[in-house]
Amino acid sequence: MPFWKWWTSIVVIILAISYAQYQLDILNFIYNNDPTRITAIIGIIFLLCTIRIGYVSWQKQFLYTQHDHFNENEILWFCSDVVMSIGMVGTLIGFLIVLTTTFTDIDTTSAQAMKEVIGTLASGMGIALMTSLTGLISSIILKFQLVMTENLNERV
């Protein structure tokens, strides 16, 4: 029963995200602190892959379709690495923001200008860490789903 396993895991993940959203307003926090929208791209890829994994496991269970899942799921495995790589891209963009915007027309004698510069620095660091974290978590959950689906398939 690969689909029900997948369904249970998805329910647990949705509950966890909902709890985090309820307690920490996490989605709003990520949306507000990532002007590059890289986390949104990671989220969309994660969502599509999760749906695809659910569909594959549904096929296995109800249609008894015998896929050559080593080839079938290759794109999903690739995507589970891609989300991490996109997170890394976000890190580099954050680094770029830290390095390029800090020293442009900086007035070290003005307290207001210093505040803005430190704000930009924090923003760059925020993007870097946020995208990394989103990429890593998405990758872990995707790989977990894939491993679970494939192992169950093999036992059928």
Binding site: T91, A122, L136, V147
Partner: protein, 212 residues
């Protein structure tokens, strides 16, 4: 091969650490406060010549300057047009002030001559010991005195020379030239030219009979 493991996460972590440390470094640099320019008073003069000796000394030393137009500035003639002696310090004799009925002691032995214009030519500087006796036996004798020549536009300490003067002695300290651009050149600290005038109108080549 399945991507069960990937080193992207590790590289990502290293980059994040790098960003963290870089940001800390940048913030540290930004928070280094620049030296405040407020409160710095720039003297309105081109050059300054200061003479200082031991603050507690009772010896009365006088600085004498001769400008290019033969103007001689010393304590009897403090205002020499563009060469001005700002204070005749008498050792510790005039260090006591009565302020609001309270006697206050400001122990400082310093005479300052400011040159307020760029007048090309040669300048001579000498020091005269006005005292005829040393009242404080513990005082170093001959009296050591430091004479500094400063260019103020821009600031640089051109020369600082220490000499020792005996009682009633006038000692030449240095001579220097100023050009049209206000630059000091041809410094000479090995001269023996007395500039203090005598009552007879000549130079104080002899210490006796000089104007006090």
């Amino acid at each position: 091969m399945r991507g069960y493991s990937s080193n992207i996460a590790f590289i990502d972590l290293l980059f994040n650490l790098l960003i963290g440390f870089t940001s800390l470094l940048l913030i540290a640099f930004l928070l280094i406060n620049p030296v405040a320019d407020d409160g710095v008073v720039n003297p309105r003069a081109e050059f300054l010549i200061t003479m200082s000796w031991l603050d507690t000394s009772g010896i009365d030393l006088d600085i004498w300057i001769e400008g290019p137009n033969k103007t001689i500035v010393g304590f009897p003639q403090k205002d020499g047009a563009f060469i001005i002696l700002e204070r005749d310090d008498l050792g510790n004799t005039n260090d006591t002030f009565l302020i609001n009925g309270v006697e206050q002691l400001v122990e400082r032995n310093l005479e300052t001559v400011s040159i307020n214009a760029i007048v090309p030519g040669e300048y001579f500087v000498s020091v005269h010991n006005y005292n005829s006796t040393v009242e404080n036996d513990e005082e170093e004798y001959p009296t050591p005195v430091t004479i500094d020549l400063m260019d103020l536009e821009p600031y640089s300490l051109v020369l600082s020379k220490q000499v020792s003067v005996k009682l009633k002695e006038e000692k030449s300290v240095f001579s220097f030239m100023i050009n049209e651009k206000g630059q000091i050149y041809d410094l000479n600290d090995d001269i023996n030219i007395k500039i203090r005038p005598t009552p007879r109108g000549g130079r104080s080549d002899t210490d006796e009979g000089a104007v006090p």
